[in-house]
């Protein structure tokens, strides 16, 4: 399968030494320069491993995925696992992989609220839909989209991610291992959340029906 056209806007640069096998092959088997296989952790279908906190990549916005890989390289997002992998990939491979994963289908569940009254004591749902405005923290869906399905290249889906992954990211924004949030928006949000808040909202999103983000398929 030929490399697909890149959305991220940069030209494809494929070094002669890595004249690549197909993108899918890179994802499944790794690249010659040592990048581990993506599928070993993120799953052949790109849905991640919820219990291990490995995020789904399938159906995420391609530009967002490219940005995360670049941020692992620059260090604004730090992960002992992902940093060496991101560095081992060429820019062309990062872009191609991002497009590949953005197009993977995800199993779509039906249902879930859209715009209904908030009639619940569920802390997670209240945080997700209303936030904590006394601390100027909006409901998550006010930026991440209805259902948390994700909006454009800067607000990734929260739905279809495990509670562990979401909680880990909120901690990462609190503590500093992740500093790649534009305008420091997520750091501001994360610092306002208690442990109980983080657990509740992470679990709420993890139990929501999965709906694909638009524009990624």
């Amino acid at each position: 399968m030929a490399l697909t056209l890149l959305i991220a806007g940069g030209a494809v640069t494929v070094r002669a030494a890595n004249l690549s096998p197909s993108v899918r092959s890179v994802a499944q088997q790794g690249a010659e320069n040592g990048a581990k296989t993506c599928s070993a952790c993120h799953g052949a279908n790109g849905m991640g491993q919820p219990t291990a906190g490995v995020p789904r990549l399938a159906g995420l916005n391609a530009a967002y995925l490219v940005q995360q890989l670049e941020d692992f390289v620059s260090g604004t997002r730090r992960s002992p696992v992902m940093t060496p992998i991101a560095k081992a990939l060429s820019q062309g491979q990062r872009e191609a992989l991002a497009v590949h994963y953005s197009k993977l289908p995800i199993s779509v569940s039906k249902g879930g609220y859209v715009s209904t009254p908030l009639t619940t004591d569920n802390l997670g749902e209240r945080l997700a839909r209303r936030g904590i405005w006394s601390k100027q923290v909006p409901g998550c869906v006010q930026c991440h989209g209805p259902h948390g399905i994700g909006v454009g290249p800067n607000f990734p889906p929260l739905v279809g991610q495990s509670a562990l992954y979401i909680a880990n990211q909120l901690h990462a924004w609190q503590g500093g291992p992740r500093r790649n949030d534009p305008l420091g928006l997520m750091r501001h949000v994360a610092l306002a959340l208690s442990e109980k808040d983080i657990r509740a909202v992470a679990e709420w999103f993890a139990t929501q029906p999965v709906i694909p983000q638009e524009g990624t398929r």
């Binding site: 715009s115 006010q142 305008l183 928006l185």
Partner: protein, 332 residues
Amino acid sequence: MRLLHVWLFLVLVSAGLALAACSKAPSSRGEVHSAPHVAASSAALVPVAATRSAAPAKSEKTHLFTPPPESAIPNNEFGAMVREGELIFRHTGKYASVYVGNGLTCEDCHLNGGRRPGSAPLWAAYVRYPRYRSKNHMVNSYADRLRGCFRFSMNGTPPPPGSTVIKAITAYSYWLATGAPTGANLPRAGYPDPGTPSQKPSYDRGLVVFNSDCTLCHSGNGRGQKALGQYVFPPLWGPDSFNWGAGMAKVNTAAAFIKANMPFSLGGSLTIQQAWDVALFMDSHERPQDPRFTGSVAATRKKYHDNRWSMYGETVNGHLLGSRSLPGNRNK
């Protein structure tokens, strides 16, 4: 349940302080009107006699009014109307679609469902009506005021005064204002004074602010971002935004909103200069025509926009603002 008790305690304290503060006012406006439909457990039914014997309260100026929590909406017909009003307020294009002519919701400019202090909260607006407005040279009822929002900010059709939409938003506003003194100018009403910029607001400086602080959400072309067919981040100009008759089209109003509330979740982080510059920038783009258009931009400017803060009829980057008639109300 404990959380509910904490909320009730806070509302009790707030209502008590508000009542005590009002009891010091010399005029008859100091009287508090209790809400007859509020559930018995709500704080609004604190007897006035009990609060008069309470310790002296802070002055009204320093005390911030707090509306009741969503969980306090009563489970009766009145409460159902309040909920409908809230739904309309947060999802206007869906629940009042016939009257909406653009892609905005009320909540886009009245943040947090009309609750946020400093973001033109409903609870502060409700108690100030009826009032004279120079905009339309008459005493406006609250219903009149809401109809104006639909006509200009929502680029739509004003709902009939007796319509369920008007009744529902009024019920929601009234309920949010539970315990607030009628006629009061409550702290953090409207958009707070954004301060005076040291330099005259500039389009070019505003563009810099826009690119660094606004495009993340509102997109590079200012047209917002959508998901599931609805706007998540609203359009700031263009055919789906507020029209030239809206308050937000005035630079001073926009600067005040922006200074206190933008970027979303980081309100207060822009400097005074930045807020004014980006407000001017935003208000220097085309949007749907003023519904009061008289037939010429110049005449419409003279009649309705003859003030220093309206960009209507001004020429920016070679373009006469208001001259490109964008598609109007999509429901017409």
